[in-house]
Point group: C2
Chain length 146, copies 2
DNA sequence: TGTCGGGTTAGACCGTGTATATTTTTGTTA
DNA sequence: TAACAAAAATATACACGGTCTAACCCGACA
């Protein structure tokens, strides 16, 4: 279970984490991993870039994108596509879904544990299911709470 | 022309359809509606533009985008966001979900009729649910059972 | 020390979509 | 039918997220 608010974010731990996923742990990759796993939020690439560069090193746009795609491929993070204008990256790889506030752009996790879908058809012949994502779009609206 | 069974795609019918949705039926809008509702597929904006201009009139990019957003606002069509690089427009506004073939980019409808979700939490206080979308990402893979 | 190769980099580039200012069409009134 | 105002369509320039390329850096290792 990795549900503790702040797991071990030491460089050693992150290095091990990257190695465990077959990722050569370079300085920049560790920085990016630190940003992703310390704030356990849904961050866009531009936010990640800003946070990484706020620290000390200068990390280029290309490296941020390369690294994020590498992390994706190695299943260290997930991609959440809810807005055509930007992709969110999600350090939570446990099965879950999302509320998406279309007004503020905020994403909120919905754990998949207590959730079930009935009647979903099989994928067409010869196809494998990669993922099942539920996106509940919400917006501020009439409700009793002020 | 397609030989598939087509609903009434006469200009008069489309004109009525637009009027019924409070949309002033201009020439370009009718052209775009015709493209959307004759091919009952999921089309991207660029595909729609190409198909509209293949006919006879020259319709600008801006008009295509304006019209699609107008149709969206008037609930004549739906938007399907599965790929950050392009948005698909779906002339099917009945409740349904999608298979998305990440390899070919093809979308396949999943009717919502026989489908149910259990355990979905309520949206946060003060929030209204706009939509609930299920996206099943699939890809060609090891031959399946059935 | 030299070289080899993965990683990083800046900057040019691409494609989807948007803003704006102007022209055209549409509907209305007479 | 003509004139007019309002709505819509247009071309063009622009913005932005993301990608590509070609050079560079730097550690590993002989």
């Amino acid at each position: 279970m990795t549900s503790t608010p702040i797991p071990d974010l030491s460089r050693e731990h992150l290095t091990d984490l990257l190695r465990a996923h077959d990722i050569t742990p370079t300085h920049q990759r560790i920085e990016i991993a630190q940003v992703l796993f310390s704030r356990r939020e849904h961050l866009s690439a531009e936010q990640i870039m800003a946070l990484v560069n706020r620290r000390h090193s200068e990390t280029s746009k290309a490296t941020v994108y390369n690294t994020l795609r590498l992390f994706l491929k190695k299943k260290l993070i997930r991609e959440v596509i809810v807005d055509p204008d930007k992709v969110f990256f999600d350090p939570n790889t446990t099965p879950h879904h999302h509320f998406y506030d279309t007004h503020s752009g905020e994403l909120i996790d919905i754990p998949a544990a207590d959730l079930s879908i009935h009647g979903l058809p099989e994928p067409p012949r010869g196809m494998l299911t990669e993922s099942v994502d539920i996106i509940v779009r919400i917006r501020p609206g009439a409700a009793a709470t002020a």
